[in-house]
């Protein structure tokens, strides 16, 4: 699988692609000691800045760095233009879908998606039925995972519509590259990304409850031991809003307040980085200490906006994913601009039969899994692993989907033996408020193991700065 992939830097004749020439020249002309020193400096800086994440299952308080690679992932302006048009179309569609299933369910009536896949989905929230949200937006922040395969065409791997993370790494990676290698930015005209927090704040303000002139926005975090705490604090600081925990908020007469040194202060928009289940112990998980009792009631009264809305998970679920192209046609009357990866739904007998016969070639994922946990990568798995997975699939086929193993594109990356191609993906962050906005690029994640296709940071993946060129 590793042999035949699209190389971001070098074409099939071994020639450096035009948009990478400036970088290749720079790398050739820069003494390797200087590069090594700069790489070490990046490590020290990330530690000092505390850009770390906590790892689940390890000792409490374990903080790790996400490896940062100094070779940027470069996208020419034309590629980004096409990609961003596809992202707009897709996110717009997903928001229309969410509005529809929580109102009249036209798409189910038209039988474009089997109703039980939606209504019996664990991520479908009946509490949202009939509720109008500002501008009809549910997924205010979407992190759409894009990969490049085959001859270089883009595919959507996953739509993350719940609480997608990683944008702080996108911003810190850029800051780090500019600090380490300012001379590179003189050679290239790289589209800036630093205004993301402003764009986010602007977007959050446009979805405040009606009649609020100066909306008070807060970021709601589970707390300092959450794996993405750094990002929560970072975004709150960059937007100049309060970073609150559940204990800082309370609800009185269906209005949300935060406890301040000057008494209670009303809150209008909550950018929450807590899963639905933990938001309100009166309605969802009773044992949640992270949430705010009465929050759902305040939300349903229209006195506060939650971003993202409750119940968005039904639209990014792996069992709904195969229907997204059909949604685009249904709601917009357009052909989808972005490819979906062909997906076998193992609850269908034909798909199951095919998958079981081709496990060694396929990637099998749990429908509700995330973070690269609970998946089988056929070509990389041992016979025993495949047989073990086979049993799990036969036991509960409805829990799995299967996809062909994509030959993900690769980008040169610093590894122990020098610079070698490593597989990458891309997570652009798409903001929806009054309109759809995004900064050029996104977060590029890289699988650091030779031949590895798993880019998740929880599985040892790293990140790269992503450059969209302006011209």
């Amino acid at each position: 699988m590793a042999g035949n992939f699209f190389n971001e830097m070098v074409d099939s004749d071994g020639m450096v692609r035009p948009h990478y020439r400036g970088f290749a020249d720079w790398l050739r002309d820069t003494p390797s000691e200087r590069v090594a020193r700069k790489r070490a400096e990046a490590d020290t800086l990330f530690h000092r800045v505390g850009i770390t994440f906590a790892v689940y299952g390890e000792q409490e308080g374990t903080e790790r760095l996400i490896p940062f690679d100094i070779v940027p992932r470069i996208l020419p302006a034309t590629e980004w233009k096409a990609l961003s048009a596809g992202l707009r179309q897709r996110v717009k569609t997903l928001n229309l879908f969410l509005h529809d299933i929580y109102h009249d369910q036209e798409i189910l009536k038209a039988e474009r998606i089997p109703a039980e896949h939606v209504l019996k989905n664990a991520q479908y929230r009946p509490e949202m039925q009939g509720l109008d949200v500002p501008n009809g937006i549910y997924a205010h922040i979407a992190g759409v995972d894009i990969v490049r395969a085959g001859q270089g065409e883009f595919y959507v791997l996953e739509d993350n519509l719940r609480v997608p993370s990683g944008v702080s790494y996108m911003l810190e990676d850029r800051k780090m590259m500019m600090r380490l290698f300012p001379e590179l930015f003189a050679r290239y005209s790289v589209a800036p990304v630093e205004h993301y927090p402003d764009m986010l704040l602007d977007s959050l303000r446009t979805v405040s409850p009606k009649g609020v002139a100066e909306p008070v926005v807060v970021v709601l975090t589970p707390g300092a031991y959450n794996s993405a705490y750094f990002e929560h604090a970072f975004l709150a600081q960059q937007m100049g809003v309060e970073l609150v925990e559940g204990q800082d908020l309370f609800v009185k007469a269906d209005v949300v307040y935060m406890r301040t040194t000057q008494g209670p202060r009303r809150v209008d928009v909550i950018y929450r980085r807590i899963d639905d289940d933990f938001l309100d112990p009166l309605v969802f998980r009773k044992d949640s200490k992270l949430g705010v009792p009465g929050l759902l009631s305040a939300y349903r009264s229209g006195n506060v906006t939650l971003c993202n809305a409750i119940g968005t998970g039904v639209a990014d679920d792996k069992s709904i994913y195969p229907y997204v192209p059909e949604m685009v046609r249904f709601y917009l009357g357009e052909e989808p601009l972005l490819n979906n990866v062909p997906t076998y739904m193992l609850r269908k007998p034909d798909d199951l039969k095919y998958a079981l016969a081709h496990l060694a070639e396929l990637v099998v994922k749990e429908v509700h899994g995330s973070g690269g946990y609970g998946m089988l990568i056929g070509p990389a798995a041992s016979k025993a692993q495949i047989e073990e997975f086979r049993k799990r699939i036969i036991d509960a086929p409805e829990k799995y989907i299967a996809q062909p193993t994509l030959a993900l594109s690769a980008c040169p990356t610093f590894v122990e033996s020098g610079v070698a191609p490593r597989h990458i993906d891309l997570r652009p962050f798409v903001l929806s408020g009054r309109e759809i906005n995004m900064v050029p690029g996104g977060l590029t994640r890289v699988a650091l193991g030779d031949g590895s296709l798993v880019v998740n940071s929880s599985q040892g993946g790293g990140t790269k700065d992503t450059w969209v060129l302006e011209n």
């Binding site: 505390g50 604090a233 309060e242 970073l243 609150v244 800082d248 406890r259 040194t261 008494g263």
Partner: protein
């Protein structure tokens, strides 16, 4: 600002200040130990370090006899000792980590680096070589913390709660250092060793960066009464009780809310008594009794500040 944020910032500042004062105390003792001393004096000196922090009992239970090496280890690296430099720097870092979005990135990076550097120290190596360097390092990090706060932070409520924490802690720490050392020196003075007495006083002054200040202000011999006056009543002396309470009062007025009136009044009363007080009157009461009463008042202020601002009793 959020009450919880104010709470974290206030305690971050208190622990940073406390770490510095512990280092100052230890440093003075360490330097004193380089002078000729009787074993009793040595034990007395290190015992006083524990006394300042109210740790004699806890220490005795775990370690028994007082030796310089054991006390230093206990006060620097023992993570079960809530007043050790380890515990103070850890608490300070955890507090700022919880509100890192509310402080400048330079402040966070500085505090985080302090903790990372301290954690990387090998206790055996530090204890085995020049421990004085370590105390100097702690003082420098505290200077840096203050500098980066004043030099980078917007002077808003967040800033005021940091200042409030720093100065309330400093008032408390200076009073404790003065109290314990003063008693010890008086006790030693009865034995009539004038040279030793001089070194003890100058060491006490040095521990609060007050030696040069004393010379400048009094241009005369060191006398107990003047040392006390400098550290209690001189408002131009940065580590004195008068200066610390002036800052506490000023910052408290700047963050006042609808229920903090009585707290402000008490802080103002204490500030005024220092501002207009005379050292003769304090010595009439007795310095120890005076300082004990003072510590009771700062403790009360700490509780009241928590109730009025930090622990949200005002909300629902």
């Amino acid at each position: 600002m959020l009450s919880r944020t104010a709470d974290h910032l206030y305690w971050m500042a208190r622990y940073t200040e406390r770490a510095e004062n512990v280092a100052r105390m230890l440093d003075v003792n360490f330097r004193m130990s380089l002078l000729p001393q009787t074993p009793e004096q040595i034990e007395q000196g290190w015992g006083a370090v524990l006394g300042v922090n109210g740790l004699q009992e806890a220490y005795k239970e775990r370690h028994g006899s007082v030796t310089p090496e054991k006390v230093v280890r206990y006060m620097v690296f023992d993570r079960d000792n809530p007043s050790s430099i380890y515990s103070c720097l850890y608490a300070s870092r955890e507090n700022i980590r919880a509100v890192r979005g509310s402080v400048t990135s330079e402040m966070w990076e500085m505090q985080n680096a302090t903790w990372l550097e301290f954690r990387a120290l090998d206790p055996e190596k530090v204890l085995g070589s020049d421990i004085g360097e370590m105390f100097e390092w702690v003082r420098h990090r505290s200077h840096l913390s203050r500098g980066v706060t004043v030099g980078t932070m917007l002077q808003d409520e967040d800033f005021r709660f940091i200042r409030l924490g720093s100065f309330l802690e400093r008032a408390d720490n200076t009073a404790r250092i003065l109290d314990v050392k003063y008693q010890a020196i008086e006790l030693g003075a009865k034995e009539g060793d004038a040279a030793s007495e001089y070194y003890q006083w100058s060491a006490l002054l040095r521990s609060v960066s007050g030696f040069a200040a004393y010379r400048k202000v009094y241009r005369d011999l060191i006398t107990p009464r003047r040392v006390a006056e400098l550290l209690v009543l001189r408002a131009d002396m940065p580590r004195s009780l008068a200066r610390s309470m002036k800052e506490v009062y000023t910052n408290l007025c700047l963050v006042a809310n609808s229920q903090s009136g009585e707290t402000q009044r008490r802080a103002g009363e204490l500030h005024s008594s220092l501002r207009f007080g005379r050292i003769e009157d304090i010595f009439d009461v007795g310095l120890h009794d005076y300082l004990t009463a003072f510590l009771g008042k700062t403790d009360d202020l700490g509780n009241r500040i928590a109730r009025d601002f930090l622990v949200p009793v005002l909300a629902d």
